[in-house]
């Protein structure tokens, strides 16, 4: 029963895609079906999370062997706490984005495959979170990317086409790198199944393999994953793509698609590569596992992202560009605790790092989509999202302003919002690493995270004072705020407040997810790849 439930979210999305195609001649029915489809997706993910992971008598994890082919020969879908946690983020943001799209994107554009593409994007994301096979992960990436290429170029103006083309070329190069990594890992370990690979890498002598190439091949995959996550130095596509995509899609790209990159880093490095014993001794990285390579690389990239994103966001003169830069910085806040976890010895600090990253990922998905939706509502009310054309919105549209305020405060990290716990855990991880190593690097991490937090306060304050306070501009004076849009915003803002107040279950879910990511042996045992001993 639990095993069959694993594919439920995927079947729901596939059914929605078929419904979107079938209902093309009836735009109204298509919109209703799209909302119903994303609601059903959220229910399916909720059922998966509750029945497989969270409920007291749940098995904790389950697998589904596609076509009945046993691992490692078939493709395995795995739901453990980590997958369930990420799926939950996708379901919440996806549902909110579909509902908001219905009331925001104009009707003619919605008829042009908009909902179809959105569900395809969701399909790719679901597959990437579920799969336990490295090549299959590549395929789901491509499904996700195919939909997002079209969505980035959706409006079809010159700048949209240009942004779509740049996004496409960059991601094709990324995909080629990932293919090189997958092919090389297959040649090295003789398997594509993640659990089987993990098992073989942990005991290379028994399987007659040499794990040394894994570090370099893993680095290729890592480059692709960080391109997806938009970490510095692969961040340059982010502002263009986010500004050109329809705003609800930008919210999904920032809230969910970026997290797929971070998820893949965590899954591949912590669940698959962590068991390998490979001596690494290059300047800046020394250790006996591929994690010793990941830690300094990700730490530098994450810290640079925090600074680049924060500084970029301060200089922007439109709201959507500011949010795009801000999401570069916020992904840095997710990357830094992952790097701390990679540097730490197995134990509580490593777990804390991953918990911090996961909680931050959830917080960022919620807060950033709320802010993107608020920007969209501002644009459809006033016709602009240039900071210089806005002003005095707080008195003109108090509820909208309240929602933007909640999102900004959560991004800054004010209790009791979810953002507070995200920042708190990141700081705790950084502080504990500092006390554990007390080197220069530990101090630098704390400094960067602090500067990043200050930069967040600066750019959110700037956006707030420029667009919500001050004298009303003509655009604001003639604004007509759509209640249906504000209703979605209020829902998301309430969710951020509620999750912040009742944070304990979220923390426990995130802790279970982090433990699932670190429980390499449990993952291997769960999938149960057979054969290959001594072969």
């Amino acid at each position: 029963m639990a095993n069959d439930l694993v594919v439920a979210p995927m079947l729901v999305v596939l059914a929605s895609i078929v419904a979107m195609l079938a209902l093309r001649p009836r735009p109204r029915a298509q919109r209703v079906a799209s909302v119903a489809g994303s609601l059903a997706y959220a229910v399916a993910v909720g059922a998966v999370a509750w029945l497989i992971v969270l409920s007291p008598d749940a098995p904790g994890a389950a697998t589904y062997q596609l076509g009945g082919w046993a691992a490692p020969f078939g493709i395995t879908f795995v739901v453990d706490a980590l997958s369930a946690f990420m799926l939950t983020i996708a379901a919440v943001v996806g549902l909110a984005a579909v509902v908001f799209s219905v009331v925001f994107v104009d009707r003619a554009n919605q008829g042009v495959f908009y909902h179809l593409l959105f569900h395809c994007l969701l399909l790719g994301v679901t597959g990437a979170f579920l799969t336990g096979d490295l090549f299959n992960l590549f395929v789901w990436f491509e499904v996700m990317l195919m939909a997002s290429y079209v969505l980035v170029a959706f409006y079809g103006g010159p700048q949209h086409t240009a942004a779509g083309f740049r996004y496409l070329v960059l991601n094709v190069v990324g995909s080629v790198l990932l293919l090189l990594a997958v092919g090389g890992l297959y040649a090295t370990t003789g398997t594509l199944n993640m659990a089987d690979m993990s098992r073989r890498l942990a005991d290379p002598a028994a399987y007659g393999i040499d794990p040394a190439p894994v570090v370099g091949l893993g680095a290729l995959a890592f480059a692709t994953f960080s391109l997806k996550a938009g970490l510095v130095p692969f961040q340059f596509w982010v502002p263009g793509a986010y500004r050109s995509a329809p705003l609800p899609v930008a919210a999904t790209l920032a809230g969910v698609t970026k997290k797929v990159g971070m998820y893949a880093i965590v899954r591949v490095y912590f669940t698959v590569f962590a068991g390998a014993t490979v001596g690494i001794s290059v300047p800046g990285a020394a250790g006996a596992s591929p994690l010793a390579f990941l830690a300094p690389a990700l730490l530098v990239m994450g810290s640079a992202s925090i600074l680049v994103g924060g500084l970029g966001a301060i200089a922007c003169d439109t709201l959507d560009e500011m949010l795009a830069y801000s999401s570069i910085g916020q992904v840095g806040f997710i990357a830094v605790p992952v790097a701390i976890a990679a540097a730490a010895p197995p134990g509580s600090l490593r777990r804390l790092g991953l918990v911090a990253a996961l909680v931050y990922a959830l917080h960022h998905a919620l807060a950033k989509s709320l802010l993107f939706f608020a920007t969209a509502a501002i644009r459809s009310a006033t016709g602009t999202h240039r900071l210089s054309d806005l002003g005095g919105l707080a008195s003109r549209a108090p509820v909208l302003a309240g929602c933007f305020f909640v999102g900004s405060l959560s991004l800054v990290g004010i209790p009791p919002l979810t953002g507070f716990f995200g920042k708190f855990l990141v700081f705790e991880a950084a502080a504990r690493q500092f006390t554990a190593s007390s080197g220069l690097a530990g101090g630098a991490v704390i400094a960067v995270v602090l500067v990043g937090a200050v930069l967040t306060i600066l750019y959110t304050t700037r956006a707030w004072t420029r667009s919500f306070w001050g004298r009303r501009t003509p655009a604001v004076e003639g604004a007509t705020v759509r209640r249906s849009q504000v209703a979605v915003l209020v829902g998301l803002a309430a969710l951020i407040v509620c999750l912040g107040i009742g944070f304990d279950p979220v923390f426990e879910f995130a802790t279970a997810a982090a433990e699932a990511a670190l429980d390499r042996e449990g993952y291997v045992e769960l999938v149960g790849p057979a054969g290959g001993d001594g072969a």
Binding site: F135, V139, E142, M146, Y149, V150, A153, G156, G157, P158, T161, A162, G164, F165, L168, V169, V172, V173, S175, V176, L179, L180, V182, G183, G184, Y186, A187, L192
Partner: protein, 113 residues
């Protein structure tokens, strides 16, 4: 055989990268598809090109003839998937190229408005 394959893969990657950096949009699309093909050749070679005996290949076992070099069927399945994906991506890239040409009346990336 391995040296030949390595040379081909290296050559394709060099060519793809060169084309990708051109100003002409169509050349960039060519670069994208050459790079994808380079990855496919690489994937095929990862299966290990090993001499097979003719009783391991059913069609030869039944029909006799010269013994070919056989290879891993899994990588061929992977490459088929990758080819289909890169086909779709290239088609979409060409559509975007045409759209960009319609809007800017030039194929030169640096003259984009």
């Amino acid at each position: 055989m391995s040296v030949a394959l390595a040379t081909v893969v290296g050559g394709l990657f060099a060519l793809g990268t060169f084309l990708l950096l051109r100003r002409d949009l169509v050349r960039v699309v060519w670069g994208v598809s050459v790079l994808s093909q380079a990855a496919n050749v690489y994937l095929i070679s990862m299966g290990g090109v090993q001499p097979g005996t003719h009783d391991t290949v059913p069609v030869l076992d039944a029909h006799g003839g010269a013994v070919p070099e056989t290879t891993d069927p899994l990588v061929q399945a992977l490459v088929l998937t990758a080819i289909v994906i890169s086909f779709g991506t290239t088609a979409f890239a060409l559509v975007l190229t045409y759209r960009a040409y319609q809007e800017n009346e030039t194929m030169d990336v640096q003259e984009w408005r």
